[in-house]
Symmetry: C2
């Protein structure tokens, strides 16, 4: 499978990966077990500190693992592993070791116990900083505490869910810098 040479990436800038709205893979670890889930409902909530809000359904096997470990890694997959992303979302960690089943490589993270997924374009190490909205909205508020991303390509071919089994693949890049006020170019 494709792999990317990554460097440390400034956490305040990771909105670049989340704001366009890709499907992501969330990896977690708890009491010697690890798991992966596919997630489509998330948003940037702040860039410094770097906050991401995520909806995690309470029926997912990852729900309790993340709630109890208070950590996860948000991994950004690209179109080359699209079928794997779908298959991960269509089985449960209760039945399957997803790293083994889908031949994905767990890598040691620096600030959390959850593993990075080597085959993903970028990896965001996250700590749960607010669990008060989990009960009402299944909303986990994470702070990205460490990020890993390659220098090239700058704009990856992410996949974005339309529902009903259809995805949009990231298309061309449009430079509209000249229409921005300088102070808005963040």
């Amino acid at each position: 499978m494709k792999s990317y040479t990554k460097r440390d990436f400034p956490v305040d800038n990771i909105r670049r990966f989340i704001e366009p709205g890709p499907i992501v893979l969330v990896s977690s670890a708890y009491k010697g077990e690890h798991n992966i889930m596919t997630m489509g409902w998330h948003m940037v909530m702040e860039f410094s500190p770097s906050l991401i809000g995520c909806y995690i359904w309470d029926q997912n096997h990852s729900f309790d693992m993340i709630r109890k470990s208070k950590e996860c890694v948000i991994n950004i997959p690209t179109v080359d592993i699209a079928t794997t992303v779908v298959k991960i979302g269509n089985c449960s960690g209760r039945d399957v070791d997803k790293f083994a089943e889908f031949k994905l490589t767990p890598q040691k993270a620096q600030k959390v116990k959850a593993p990075l997924i080597k085959e993903c374009y970028a990896n965001l190490e996250c700590k749960l900083i607010d669990s008060s909205l989990i009960k009402k909205y299944s909303l986990f508020v994470f702070e990205v505490v460490k990020a890993h991303a390659p220098v090239h390509p700058k704009y990856p071919k992410t996949i974005h869910y339309h529902g009903e089994g259809y995805f949009m693949v990231a298309g061309r890049t449009l430079n509209l810098r000249k229409f921005f006020k300088p102070e808005m170019l963040i």
Copy 2:
């Protein structure tokens, strides 16, 4: 400018437009004034009822208009009006009537006072159903109470923000239905 022939669209299915993560235009009305803002931080929070969470910065002119009127319309623009979307995000409703300035057509909504933007692909009429997270997170939780969208094209050329003045334009559509369990095809 391009326009779309729209029909009523089931509100439980509007995640099709929001989940892929496009930049949206939020229109509002309060005390005889109307405004438009460009917004990139949002997420699906539930599909029935149809809930969308949105980050609205308290320095935006729209912030108080939406907080006080408890309503807005989330409009989905496409790449043909990309420069307009950026310009709307780089000026303030304090100084400019954005509908007039950018030659956009306000249309009467059915369930809210905020206007639809005719030139956008889809229009989601929203009511603020939870204001308790505004102070801490600038997070508005809206329920979509009425939606308007065309039958064609089914997958619009939305734009997705990468930061620094660059956007991703929605690319090709990928059909991965065969890898889904039937009950997951929503």
